[in-house]
C-alpha cells in the first residue's frame, strides 16, 4: 500500500522505508520552535529534568511574539527567561523585538522551513509550514523540551483526508475563504488526529500566502498537519530564502485516504466563522446586518504582504466607520517595511486605521485591541472561542482581510462587493 505525502516525510525522518497509519515512530527533527509563552515552560522543564545541552543550536527557533513588545512586568520576565536561555546556549535563531515577527510568518520568510522537512513547534499553528510541503505540527512545552534536548520526537503516524481543489476563485476570495469553507463542512474535529492533504489542479490557483493561511488553520479542524504539494510557486518562494539541499516528497498514487472532498474554488463566496467556533461558518450573503466595533487585520493566519495589499486596495480612498477601531498588524518587520515602501501604511493611516508593530497581541486576547463586555470584532485571526479576544461576552467573527477591511468601512460585516 502506498503512503501519503505526510507519511513519506515521517518515514524518511524515522529512517524507515515504510510506515502505516497508527504506527508509533521516533523521528529526527529539522527544527523546533517555541515562543514567549510556551518557551519558558519548555526551558524550565528541560532544566528541571537535567538536560544541560541543546541538540543543535542552529535548529532551535525562539520567537518573542505573543506578549511582546513586553506588555507588562510578568511578560517581560517570560521573555527574559527565553533571552537568557538563548544567550547561554548561543541559539542562532532567537528573535527578539527589532527582528521578531509573528512566528509562523517569520520562519518561512527567514528560510528556516523548507519542503520535506520535519518541524515541531510549541504553538498549535505550527502546521502553517505544510504550505511549503513540510510536515509540521504543534506540540506542548514538554514535547518541545524533549525536542530541543534530543532532536527527536515521537509521532503516531496519521491517516489522511484528501481535499481535491478545482476551479478558479472569484475576485476577493482568498485562502481564508477556502479554509473556513472546509472547516464549516467537516467541523472543528473533522480531521482529528489526521493529515489534511491538499491536491488537484486548483492548487496552482493559490498563492503561497493563500496556502500558508489554509495550512495555518488545519488545526482548527483538529488536524495534525495540513500539507500542499511542492510546485513552481513553492520553489520560487524558497529561491532566495533556503540555501540548503531539499527533498521533495509526493504522495503515492495508491495512497489511502479516509475521505476525499472535492472543493470547487469557483463556487466559494466570502465566508465568515460566527461565534464561538471556527466551524460556525456562513457566507456574507447569509449574515444579515451585524455591526462591529473593531476590525483586526493581521496574525499568523493573515498578516502577510498579500493580506496587507488586499486590505489596502479596499481602504484606499475610503475611511473606516466612526465606531470601528481598525487595527492593522503586519506580521513581520519585512512585511511592515514593504507596507511602508509600497505606500500601504499611508493608506491605512489615512483611512483611520492604526498600523502596529508585529505581535500576536489581540488574536489571543493579549494586548493591542482587547474587547469590552458585549463588543464585537471582525478579525482575520484564527479562533473565535469564548473570551479569546477579551471579555467573555464579547464576540469574534473570523474572515479574510478583504471582508475585514470592507466591514471596517461599512461598520457591519459585509463583502467588498457591497462597497460603493
Amino acid at each position: 500500500m502506498g503512503m501519503t505525502m505526510s507519511q513519506k516525510i515521517l518515514a524518511h525522518h524515522a529512517g524507515l522505508d515504510n510506515v502505516v497509519a497508527g504506527q508509533l515512530i521516533e523521528a529526527n527533527l529539522d527544527l523546533t520552535l517555541a515562543n514567549d509563552i510556551t518557551g519558558p515552560v519548555a526551558i524550565r522543564e528541560m532544566e528541571k529534568a537535567g538536560f544541560e545541552k541543546v541538540f543543535d543550536r542552529t535548529k532551535i527557533a525562539l520567537v518573542m511574539d505573543h506578549f511582546a513588545p513586553n506588555k507588562d512586568i510578568k511578560s517581560a520576565q517570560q521573555c527574559k527567561v527565553c533571552r537568557d536561555f538563548s544567550r547561554k546556549h548561543d541559539i542562532v535563531n532567537f528573535y527578539d523585538v527589532g527582528d521578531m515577527g509573528v512566528e509562523h510568518a517569520l520562519l518561512p520568510e527567514k528560510g528556516l522551513t523548507a519542503p520535506g522537512e520535519l518541524i515541531i513547534g510549541a504553538d498549535s499553528h505550527t502546521c502553517t509550514y505544510g504550505a511549503l510541503g513540510a510536515f509540521s505540527t504543534g506540540v506542548g512545552s514538554t514535547d518541545l523540551a524533549a525536542g530541543m534536548a534530543t532532536g527527536k520526537a515521537w509521532f503516531k503516524v496519521p491517516s489522511a483526508i484528501k481535499f481535491v481543489l478545482k476551479g478558479k476563485k472569484a475576485p476577493w476570495i482568498s485562502g481564508k475563504d477556502v479554509i473556513l469553507h472546509i472547516i464549516g463542512k467537516i467541523g472543528v474535529d473533522g480531521a482529528l488526529y489526521q493529515s489534511m492533504e491538499f491536491t488537484g489542479e486548483g492548487v496552482s490557483e493559490l498563492s503561497m500566502d493563500d496556502r500558508f493561511t489554509i495550512c495555518n488553520m488545519a488545526i482548527e479542524a483538529g488536524a495534525k498537519n495540513g500539507i500542499f504539494p511542492v510546485d513552481e510557486k513553492t520553489m520560487e518562494y524558497i529561491k532566495n530564502r533556503v540555501n540548503r539541499e531539499i527533498t521533495v516528497f509526493e504522495a503515492d498514487a495508491d495512497a489511502e485516504y479516509t475521505a476525499t472532498y472535492e472543493i470547487d474554488l469557483s463556487a466559494l463566496r466570502p465566508t465568515v466563522a460566527c461565534p464561538h467556533l471556527p466551524e460556525n461558518t456562513k457566507t456574507t450573503d447569509e449574515l444579515g446586518k451585524i455591526e462591529v466595533q473593531q476590525a483586526v487585520i493581521g496574525s499568523c493566519t493573515n498578516g502577510r504582504i498579500e493580506d496587507m495589499r488586499i486590505a489596502a486596495e479596499i481602504l484606499k480612498g475610503r475611511h473606516v466607520a466612526r465606531d470601528v477601531r481598525t487595527i492593522v498588524i503586519p506580521a513581520t518587520q519585512e512585511v511592515y517595511l514593504q507596507c511602508i515602501e509600497e505606500g500601504l501604511a499611508k493608506i491605512f493611516i489615512e483611512a483611520g486605521a492604526i498600523v502596529s508593530t508585529p505581535t500576536c497581541g489581540p488574536c489571543l486576547g493579549g494586548h493591542m485591541g482587547i474587547l469590552a463586555e458585549g463588543e464585537r470584532s471582525i478579525s482575520t485571526t484564527n479562533r473565535n472561542f469564548v473570551g479569546r479576544m477579551g471579555h467573555i461576552t464579547s464576540e469574534i467573527y473570523l474572515s479574510s482581510p478583504a471582508v475585514a477591511a470592507a466591514s471596517a468601512v461599512k461598520g457591519y460585516i459585509c463583502s467588498p462587493e457591497d462597497l460603493d
Binding site: A49, K74, D123, A146, A149, V188, G365, F385, V386
Partner: protein
C-alpha cells in the same frame, strides 16, 4: 491504581482558552495560574473542586492552543482524571507528557452526569459510576505510551533511556 471522585461535566469542544485564558499566560507560577482554571466556562470550578475529582466531557476536549498550561492547571487542582469521548491531539500528548491521567470512553462520557461519584481503575480501564451503578470500559494505552506514564512523564522517560 484506582481513583475516585465527584464529577464536573462539560460538553463538546472545551477549548484551551476556556481551560486557562491566554490573558493569564504571562504568569509563571503554576499555583497562581491554577487559580484561574476553567474560569471562562465555569467560574465556580476552582471554588468547588476537591482533590480526586474527575472532569468528564464529550467530544474534542482541549481543542485549540498548544498551551501545556491547560493540563497543568487541571492537574494542579488535583483533578484525578479527565474522561472524554475524544481529545484534541495536542492536549492528549500534553496530558500524557506531564502525567495527567486521561481516558477516552464515549459510553462513559455520554452517561456520566455532573455530581456523579465515579471511580476509575487505570490498570483495567474500567470506569465505575457508583451513583448510577453502571460500568464502562475505556481503551487501554499502547505499551509505548504506558511506559511514558510509568516513568513519570516524557522527560524522565528519555533520561531513563540514556539521553
Amino acid at each position: 491504581m484506582v481513583v475516585k471522585g465527584s464529577v464536573f461535566k462539560y460538553g463538546d469542544n472545551v477549548d484551551t482558552d476556556v481551560i486557562i485564558p491566554a490573558r493569564y499566560l504571562n504568569i509563571a507560577d503554576v499555583k497562581e495560574l491554577s487559580s484561574h482554571a476553567m474560569e471562562d466556562i465555569d467560574t465556580d470550578f476552582v471554588k468547588k473542586v476537591k482533590a480526586g475529582d474527575i472532569i468528564v466531557a464529550t467530544r474534542n476536549f482541549g481543542c485549540g492552543s498548544s498551551r501545556e498550561h491547560a493540563p497543568l492547571v487541571i492537574k494542579e487542582n488535583n483533578v484525578s482524571c479527565v474522561i472524554a469521548s475524544s481529545f484534541a491531539r495536542i492536549f492528549y500528548r500534553n496530558a500524557i507528557n506531564i502525567g495527567l491521567p486521561i481516558l477516552e470512553c464515549e459510553a462513559a462520557a455520554n452517561a456520566i452526569e455532573a455530581g456523579d461519584i465515579v471511580s476509575v481503575d487505570f490498570d483495567t480501564g474500567i470506569i465505575t459510576n457508583e451513583t448510577k451503578n453502571e460500568q464502562y470500559q475505556a481503551a487501554a494505552f499502547p505499551p509505548f505510551i504506558q511506559s511514558i506514564i510509568a516513568d513519570g512523564g516524557l522527560l524522565k522517560s528519555l533520561k531513563k533511556r540514556g539521553f
